[in-house]
Symmetry: C2
Subunit: 215 residues, 2 copies
Protein backbone atom coordinates (compact mmCIF):
# COMPACT_ATOMS: atom_id res chain seq x y z
CA UNK A 1 0.00 0.00 0.00
CA UNK A 2 1.80 3.08 -1.29
CA UNK A 3 1.07 6.00 1.00
CA UNK A 4 2.66 9.33 0.34
CA UNK A 5 4.04 11.07 3.40
CA UNK A 6 1.96 14.06 4.50
CA UNK A 7 4.11 17.12 5.04
CA UNK A 8 4.49 18.69 8.47
CA UNK A 9 3.19 21.98 7.08
CA UNK A 10 -0.13 20.36 6.22
CA UNK A 11 -0.47 18.70 9.63
CA UNK A 12 0.13 21.98 11.39
CA UNK A 13 -2.80 23.50 9.53
CA UNK A 14 -5.29 20.71 10.23
CA UNK A 15 -6.14 21.74 13.82
CA UNK A 16 -6.95 25.21 12.59
CA UNK A 17 -9.29 23.85 9.91
CA UNK A 18 -10.84 21.73 12.62
CA UNK A 19 -11.39 24.75 14.84
CA UNK A 20 -13.03 26.79 12.08
CA UNK A 21 -15.22 23.90 11.00
CA UNK A 22 -16.28 23.34 14.60
CA UNK A 23 -17.34 26.97 14.85
CA UNK A 24 -19.22 26.76 11.56
CA UNK A 25 -20.95 23.63 12.77
CA UNK A 26 -21.93 25.34 16.02
CA UNK A 27 -23.39 28.25 14.13
CA UNK A 28 -25.47 25.93 12.01
CA UNK A 29 -23.68 26.24 8.67
CA UNK A 30 -24.27 23.10 6.62
CA UNK A 31 -21.94 23.49 3.67
CA UNK A 32 -19.01 25.64 2.71
CA UNK A 33 -16.88 26.15 -0.38
CA UNK A 34 -13.11 26.30 -0.30
CA UNK A 35 -13.50 29.89 -1.44
CA UNK A 36 -15.66 30.99 1.44
CA UNK A 37 -13.53 29.15 3.96
CA UNK A 38 -10.46 30.76 2.44
CA UNK A 39 -12.03 34.17 3.04
CA UNK A 40 -12.65 33.44 6.69
CA UNK A 41 -9.32 31.79 7.38
CA UNK A 42 -7.17 34.13 5.31
CA UNK A 43 -5.50 31.36 3.38
CA UNK A 44 -5.87 30.55 -0.31
CA UNK A 45 -8.72 28.34 -1.49
CA UNK A 46 -6.15 26.43 -3.49
CA UNK A 47 -4.25 25.55 -0.34
CA UNK A 48 -7.39 24.33 1.38
CA UNK A 49 -8.26 22.05 -1.54
CA UNK A 50 -4.69 20.76 -1.80
CA UNK A 51 -4.48 20.11 1.92
CA UNK A 52 -7.74 18.22 2.10
CA UNK A 53 -6.97 16.18 -0.98
CA UNK A 54 -3.97 14.68 0.74
CA UNK A 55 -6.50 12.60 2.61
CA UNK A 56 -9.05 11.96 -0.09
CA UNK A 57 -11.91 13.77 -1.75
CA UNK A 58 -14.09 15.19 0.99
CA UNK A 59 -15.95 17.64 -1.22
CA UNK A 60 -18.33 17.54 -4.09
CA UNK A 61 -18.06 19.51 -7.31
CA UNK A 62 -20.57 22.29 -7.59
CA UNK A 63 -21.50 21.95 -3.92
CA UNK A 64 -18.47 22.42 -1.75
CA UNK A 65 -17.83 20.63 1.52
CA UNK A 66 -20.37 19.36 4.02
CA UNK A 67 -19.29 21.02 7.26
CA UNK A 68 -20.31 18.26 9.63
CA UNK A 69 -18.78 15.52 7.52
CA UNK A 70 -15.52 17.38 6.97
CA UNK A 71 -15.28 18.27 10.66
CA UNK A 72 -15.55 14.64 11.66
CA UNK A 73 -13.18 13.46 8.94
CA UNK A 74 -10.48 15.89 10.03
CA UNK A 75 -11.13 14.84 13.62
CA UNK A 76 -10.48 11.24 12.64
CA UNK A 77 -7.30 12.19 10.77
CA UNK A 78 -6.08 14.01 13.89
CA UNK A 79 -6.86 10.97 16.01
CA UNK A 80 -9.59 12.76 17.95
CA UNK A 81 -11.98 9.86 17.59
CA UNK A 82 -10.02 8.01 20.26
CA UNK A 83 -9.37 8.73 23.91
CA UNK A 84 -5.92 9.08 25.40
CA UNK A 85 -4.79 8.57 28.97
CA UNK A 86 -2.23 11.15 30.02
CA UNK A 87 0.05 11.70 32.95
CA UNK A 88 1.79 14.91 33.95
CA UNK A 89 5.36 14.78 35.17
CA UNK A 90 6.11 17.81 37.31
CA UNK A 91 3.21 19.21 39.33
CA UNK A 92 4.44 22.80 39.51
CA UNK A 93 2.49 25.79 38.32
CA UNK A 94 2.35 24.82 34.69
CA UNK A 95 1.61 21.16 35.39
CA UNK A 96 -1.24 22.12 37.69
CA UNK A 97 -2.58 24.65 35.20
CA UNK A 98 -2.70 21.98 32.50
CA UNK A 99 -4.34 19.52 34.90
CA UNK A 100 -7.00 22.09 35.67
CA UNK A 101 -7.75 22.65 32.06
CA UNK A 102 -11.03 20.91 31.35
CA UNK A 103 -11.13 21.39 27.60
CA UNK A 104 -8.54 18.70 26.96
CA UNK A 105 -10.82 16.16 28.62
CA UNK A 106 -13.63 17.09 26.25
CA UNK A 107 -11.44 16.27 23.28
CA UNK A 108 -10.59 12.87 24.68
CA UNK A 109 -7.36 13.62 26.51
CA UNK A 110 -7.84 12.31 30.04
CA UNK A 111 -5.28 13.22 32.67
CA UNK A 112 -5.23 10.38 35.15
CA UNK A 113 -2.11 10.97 37.18
CA UNK A 114 0.47 13.55 38.24
CA UNK A 115 3.95 13.05 39.60
CA UNK A 116 6.46 15.24 41.39
CA UNK A 117 9.55 14.98 43.56
CA UNK A 118 8.43 17.63 46.02
CA UNK A 119 7.07 15.77 49.10
CA UNK A 120 4.94 18.80 50.05
CA UNK A 121 2.78 18.24 46.98
CA UNK A 122 2.19 14.57 47.57
CA UNK A 123 -1.41 13.58 48.15
CA UNK A 124 -2.68 16.92 46.90
CA UNK A 125 -5.40 16.62 44.31
CA UNK A 126 -5.93 18.81 41.27
CA UNK A 127 -9.45 18.48 39.90
CA UNK A 128 -9.55 15.06 41.49
CA UNK A 129 -6.20 13.99 40.06
CA UNK A 130 -3.81 12.82 42.74
CA UNK A 131 -0.20 13.97 42.83
CA UNK A 132 2.10 11.02 43.45
CA UNK A 133 5.77 10.64 44.31
CA UNK A 134 7.99 10.24 41.28
CA UNK A 135 9.24 6.83 42.47
CA UNK A 136 5.74 5.43 42.12
CA UNK A 137 5.93 6.08 38.38
CA UNK A 138 7.09 2.63 37.20
CA UNK A 139 4.33 0.84 39.11
CA UNK A 140 1.74 3.30 37.92
CA UNK A 141 2.80 2.84 34.32
CA UNK A 142 2.66 -0.93 34.70
CA UNK A 143 -0.86 -0.81 36.11
CA UNK A 144 -2.34 1.80 33.79
CA UNK A 145 -2.51 2.15 30.06
CA UNK A 146 -0.92 5.53 29.40
CA UNK A 147 -0.54 6.92 25.88
CA UNK A 148 0.80 10.41 26.55
CA UNK A 149 3.27 11.78 29.09
CA UNK A 150 3.45 15.52 29.64
CA UNK A 151 6.74 16.96 30.83
CA UNK A 152 6.37 20.12 32.89
CA UNK A 153 9.56 19.92 34.86
CA UNK A 154 12.97 21.64 34.88
CA UNK A 155 15.14 20.80 31.89
CA UNK A 156 17.75 19.11 34.05
CA UNK A 157 15.20 16.48 35.08
CA UNK A 158 13.34 16.26 31.77
CA UNK A 159 15.76 14.14 29.75
CA UNK A 160 16.24 11.66 32.58
CA UNK A 161 12.53 11.24 33.18
CA UNK A 162 11.88 10.97 29.44
CA UNK A 163 14.31 8.09 29.13
CA UNK A 164 12.62 6.29 32.01
CA UNK A 165 9.23 6.82 30.44
CA UNK A 166 10.37 5.41 27.13
CA UNK A 167 11.87 2.38 28.89
CA UNK A 168 8.45 1.79 30.37
CA UNK A 169 6.91 1.82 26.92
CA UNK A 170 5.65 5.40 26.56
CA UNK A 171 5.52 6.35 22.88
CA UNK A 172 4.35 9.97 23.01
CA UNK A 173 5.64 12.95 24.95
CA UNK A 174 4.26 16.45 25.21
CA UNK A 175 7.36 18.37 26.20
CA UNK A 176 7.24 21.75 27.94
CA UNK A 177 10.82 21.54 29.24
CA UNK A 178 13.33 23.84 27.58
CA UNK A 179 15.42 21.14 26.09
CA UNK A 180 15.48 18.83 23.11
CA UNK A 181 14.84 15.24 24.07
CA UNK A 182 17.00 12.60 22.43
CA UNK A 183 14.76 9.57 22.11
CA UNK A 184 14.27 6.65 19.71
CA UNK A 185 12.59 7.37 16.37
CA UNK A 186 9.38 5.58 17.24
CA UNK A 187 8.72 7.97 20.13
CA UNK A 188 6.64 10.99 19.16
CA UNK A 189 7.66 14.26 20.79
CA UNK A 190 5.68 17.47 20.55
CA UNK A 191 7.51 20.45 21.98
CA UNK A 192 5.96 23.55 23.50
CA UNK A 193 8.73 26.01 24.20
CA UNK A 194 7.03 29.03 25.73
CA UNK A 195 10.18 31.09 26.10
CA UNK A 196 10.98 30.59 22.43
CA UNK A 197 7.51 31.78 21.54
CA UNK A 198 8.09 34.86 23.67
CA UNK A 199 11.39 35.51 21.88
CA UNK A 200 9.66 35.46 18.52
CA UNK A 201 7.30 38.04 19.92
CA UNK A 202 10.13 40.29 21.09
CA UNK A 203 11.83 39.88 17.71
CA UNK A 204 8.70 41.12 15.99
CA UNK A 205 8.28 43.99 18.44
CA UNK A 206 11.82 45.11 17.69
CA UNK A 207 11.29 44.73 13.96
CA UNK A 208 8.00 46.60 14.14
CA UNK A 209 9.62 49.56 15.87
CA UNK A 210 12.43 49.61 13.33
CA UNK A 211 9.92 49.58 10.47
CA UNK A 212 8.00 52.47 11.97
CA UNK A 213 11.13 54.57 12.35
CA UNK A 214 12.27 53.78 8.81
CA UNK A 215 9.07 54.49 6.92
Amino acid sequence: MEEKEISRAVIKRLPRYYRYLGELLDSGVERISSNELSDRMKVTASQIRQDLNNFGGFGQQGYGYNVKFLYHEIGKILGLDKTYNMIILGAGNLGQALANYVRFEKRGFRIIGMFDVNPQLIGKKIRGIEIRMMDELPDFLAENDIQIATLTLPKAAAEEVAVKLVESGIKAIWNFAHTDLHLPDDVVVENVHLSESLMQLSYNITKNQRDRNTK
Copy 2:
Protein backbone atom coordinates in the same frame (compact mmCIF):
# COMPACT_ATOMS: atom_id res chain seq x y z
CA MET B 1 18.07 51.52 3.00
CA GLU B 2 17.22 48.27 1.22
CA GLU B 3 16.62 45.57 3.79
CA LYS B 4 15.56 42.15 2.66
CA GLU B 5 12.76 40.63 4.66
CA ILE B 6 13.87 37.78 6.92
CA SER B 7 11.70 34.72 6.49
CA ARG B 8 9.54 33.42 9.30
CA ALA B 9 11.28 30.05 9.08
CA VAL B 10 14.60 31.68 9.98
CA ILE B 11 13.12 33.62 12.91
CA LYS B 12 11.60 30.47 14.33
CA ARG B 13 15.04 28.86 14.43
CA LEU B 14 16.83 31.75 16.15
CA PRO B 15 15.63 31.03 19.70
CA ARG B 16 16.91 27.49 19.37
CA TYR B 17 20.34 28.69 18.25
CA TYR B 18 20.24 31.06 21.19
CA ARG B 19 19.48 28.24 23.58
CA TYR B 20 22.29 26.02 22.29
CA LEU B 21 24.78 28.86 22.32
CA GLY B 22 23.78 29.73 25.87
CA GLU B 23 24.46 26.16 26.93
CA LEU B 24 27.81 26.15 25.13
CA LEU B 25 28.69 29.42 26.83
CA ASP B 26 27.77 28.00 30.23
CA SER B 27 29.93 24.96 29.64
CA GLY B 28 32.90 27.16 28.79
CA VAL B 29 33.13 26.56 25.04
CA GLU B 30 34.76 29.55 23.38
CA ARG B 31 34.36 28.88 19.68
CA ILE B 32 32.35 26.59 17.47
CA SER B 33 32.18 25.81 13.77
CA SER B 34 28.93 25.57 11.85
CA ASN B 35 29.79 21.92 11.36
CA GLU B 36 30.08 21.08 15.04
CA LEU B 37 26.97 23.07 15.88
CA SER B 38 25.14 21.26 13.10
CA ASP B 39 26.10 17.94 14.70
CA ARG B 40 24.70 18.97 18.05
CA MET B 41 21.54 20.59 16.75
CA LYS B 42 20.78 18.05 14.03
CA VAL B 43 20.44 20.63 11.30
CA THR B 44 22.71 21.16 8.30
CA ALA B 45 25.79 23.34 8.65
CA SER B 46 24.72 25.04 5.47
CA GLN B 47 21.47 26.12 7.04
CA ILE B 48 23.25 27.54 10.07
CA ARG B 49 25.56 29.62 7.90
CA GLN B 50 22.72 30.78 5.66
CA ASP B 51 20.57 31.70 8.65
CA LEU B 52 23.27 33.69 10.38
CA ASN B 53 24.30 35.46 7.20
CA ASN B 54 20.87 37.02 6.96
CA PHE B 55 22.08 39.31 9.73
CA GLY B 56 25.70 39.80 8.76
CA GLY B 57 28.97 37.94 9.00
CA PHE B 58 29.30 36.78 12.57
CA GLY B 59 31.99 34.22 11.91
CA GLN B 60 35.56 34.14 10.75
CA GLN B 61 36.99 31.93 8.03
CA GLY B 62 39.21 29.20 9.34
CA TYR B 63 38.07 29.84 12.90
CA GLY B 64 34.32 29.47 13.16
CA TYR B 65 32.09 31.48 15.46
CA ASN B 66 32.92 33.00 18.80
CA VAL B 67 30.27 31.55 21.09
CA LYS B 68 29.93 34.50 23.43
CA PHE B 69 29.82 37.04 20.63
CA LEU B 70 27.31 35.07 18.57
CA TYR B 71 25.13 34.47 21.64
CA HIS B 72 24.89 38.16 22.33
CA GLU B 73 24.35 39.08 18.68
CA ILE B 74 21.43 36.68 18.36
CA GLY B 75 20.12 38.01 21.66
CA LYS B 76 20.15 41.51 20.18
CA ILE B 77 18.41 40.34 17.01
CA LEU B 78 15.70 38.75 19.13
CA GLY B 79 15.31 41.95 21.10
CA LEU B 80 16.55 40.39 24.33
CA ASP B 81 18.84 43.32 25.07
CA LYS B 82 15.80 45.31 26.14
CA THR B 83 13.28 44.85 28.92
CA TYR B 84 9.57 44.54 28.38
CA ASN B 85 6.73 45.29 30.75
CA MET B 86 3.96 42.74 30.48
CA ILE B 87 0.45 42.38 31.78
CA ILE B 88 -1.63 39.23 31.94
CA LEU B 89 -5.29 39.36 31.07
CA GLY B 90 -7.12 36.50 32.71
CA ALA B 91 -5.77 35.32 36.06
CA GLY B 92 -6.97 31.74 35.85
CA ASN B 93 -4.76 28.69 36.12
CA LEU B 94 -2.68 29.37 33.05
CA GLY B 95 -2.35 33.10 33.75
CA GLN B 96 -1.19 32.37 37.28
CA ALA B 97 1.22 29.71 36.09
CA LEU B 98 2.82 32.16 33.66
CA ALA B 99 2.99 34.83 36.37
CA ASN B 100 4.78 32.39 38.65
CA TYR B 101 7.33 31.57 36.03
CA VAL B 102 10.51 33.34 37.06
CA ARG B 103 12.58 32.58 33.98
CA PHE B 104 10.78 35.14 31.85
CA GLU B 105 11.88 37.85 34.25
CA LYS B 106 15.49 36.83 33.83
CA ARG B 107 15.23 37.34 30.09
CA GLY B 108 13.85 40.83 30.56
CA PHE B 109 10.12 40.13 30.44
CA ARG B 110 8.67 41.73 33.57
CA ILE B 111 5.09 40.97 34.50
CA ILE B 112 3.78 43.99 36.34
CA GLY B 113 0.04 43.48 36.42
CA MET B 114 -2.75 40.94 36.17
CA PHE B 115 -6.41 41.47 35.42
CA ASP B 116 -9.52 39.37 35.76
CA VAL B 117 -13.29 39.73 35.93
CA ASN B 118 -13.71 37.30 38.81
CA PRO B 119 -14.16 39.42 41.98
CA GLN B 120 -12.94 36.54 44.14
CA LEU B 121 -9.46 36.89 42.69
CA ILE B 122 -9.17 40.62 43.20
CA GLY B 123 -6.43 41.73 45.52
CA LYS B 124 -4.76 38.34 45.41
CA LYS B 125 -1.06 38.49 44.65
CA ILE B 126 0.96 36.08 42.53
CA ARG B 127 4.64 36.39 43.22
CA GLY B 128 3.97 39.95 44.34
CA ILE B 129 1.92 40.79 41.26
CA GLU B 130 -1.49 42.10 42.17
CA ILE B 131 -4.63 40.89 40.42
CA ARG B 132 -6.85 43.84 39.50
CA MET B 133 -10.37 44.19 38.24
CA MET B 134 -10.66 44.31 34.47
CA ASP B 135 -12.27 47.76 34.55
CA GLU B 136 -9.10 49.22 36.02
CA LEU B 137 -7.28 48.26 32.81
CA PRO B 138 -7.58 51.60 30.92
CA ASP B 139 -6.20 53.58 33.87
CA PHE B 140 -3.43 51.10 34.43
CA LEU B 141 -2.39 51.26 30.78
CA ALA B 142 -2.41 55.04 30.89
CA GLU B 143 -0.17 55.12 33.97
CA ASN B 144 2.25 52.35 32.98
CA ASP B 145 4.36 51.72 29.95
CA ILE B 146 3.30 48.27 28.81
CA GLN B 147 4.81 46.60 25.75
CA ILE B 148 3.24 43.14 25.88
CA ALA B 149 -0.23 41.93 26.82
CA THR B 150 -0.75 38.23 27.49
CA LEU B 151 -4.21 36.82 26.85
CA THR B 152 -5.05 33.83 29.02
CA LEU B 153 -8.80 34.12 28.96
CA PRO B 154 -11.72 32.33 27.30
CA LYS B 155 -11.95 32.89 23.58
CA ALA B 156 -15.29 34.68 23.88
CA ALA B 157 -13.61 37.44 25.90
CA ALA B 158 -10.28 37.45 24.07
CA GLU B 159 -11.21 39.34 20.92
CA GLU B 160 -13.07 42.02 22.86
CA VAL B 161 -10.23 42.57 25.33
CA ALA B 162 -7.68 42.56 22.49
CA VAL B 163 -9.53 45.36 20.70
CA LYS B 164 -9.57 47.42 23.91
CA LEU B 165 -5.87 46.84 24.41
CA VAL B 166 -5.07 47.96 20.90
CA GLU B 167 -7.20 51.08 21.34
CA SER B 168 -5.08 51.88 24.38
CA GLY B 169 -1.93 51.61 22.29
CA ILE B 170 -0.77 48.04 22.92
CA LYS B 171 1.29 46.81 19.97
CA ALA B 172 2.12 43.23 20.97
CA ILE B 173 -0.07 40.38 22.15
CA TRP B 174 0.88 36.93 23.38
CA ASN B 175 -2.30 35.04 22.71
CA PHE B 176 -3.19 31.81 24.51
CA ALA B 177 -6.90 32.04 23.70
CA HIS B 178 -8.19 29.55 21.14
CA THR B 179 -9.13 32.09 18.57
CA ASP B 180 -7.54 34.16 15.85
CA LEU B 181 -7.44 37.84 16.71
CA HIS B 182 -8.33 40.30 13.98
CA LEU B 183 -6.20 43.32 14.66
CA PRO B 184 -4.45 46.06 12.68
CA ASP B 185 -1.27 45.14 10.81
CA ASP B 186 1.04 47.06 13.11
CA VAL B 187 0.00 44.92 16.08
CA VAL B 188 2.20 41.88 16.59
CA VAL B 189 0.41 38.72 17.68
CA GLU B 190 2.14 35.53 18.77
CA ASN B 191 -0.23 32.62 19.23
CA VAL B 192 0.22 29.69 21.60
CA HIS B 193 -2.55 27.24 20.90
CA LEU B 194 -2.01 24.38 23.32
CA SER B 195 -4.92 22.29 22.13
CA GLU B 196 -3.65 22.48 18.55
CA SER B 197 -0.25 21.31 19.73
CA LEU B 198 -1.94 18.39 21.46
CA MET B 199 -3.81 17.54 18.26
CA GLN B 200 -0.55 17.37 16.33
CA LEU B 201 0.64 14.95 18.96
CA SER B 202 -2.43 12.74 18.62
CA TYR B 203 -2.08 12.85 14.82
CA ASN B 204 1.45 11.54 15.13
CA ILE B 205 0.46 8.88 17.64
CA THR B 206 -2.17 7.63 15.23
CA LYS B 207 0.25 7.74 12.31
CA ASN B 208 2.90 5.96 14.36
CA GLN B 209 0.55 3.11 15.18
CA ARG B 210 -0.51 2.80 11.56
CA ASP B 211 3.15 2.67 10.46
CA ARG B 212 3.90 -0.06 12.97
CA ASN B 213 1.00 -2.18 11.78
CA THR B 214 1.93 -1.71 8.14
CA LYS B 215 5.62 -2.52 8.28
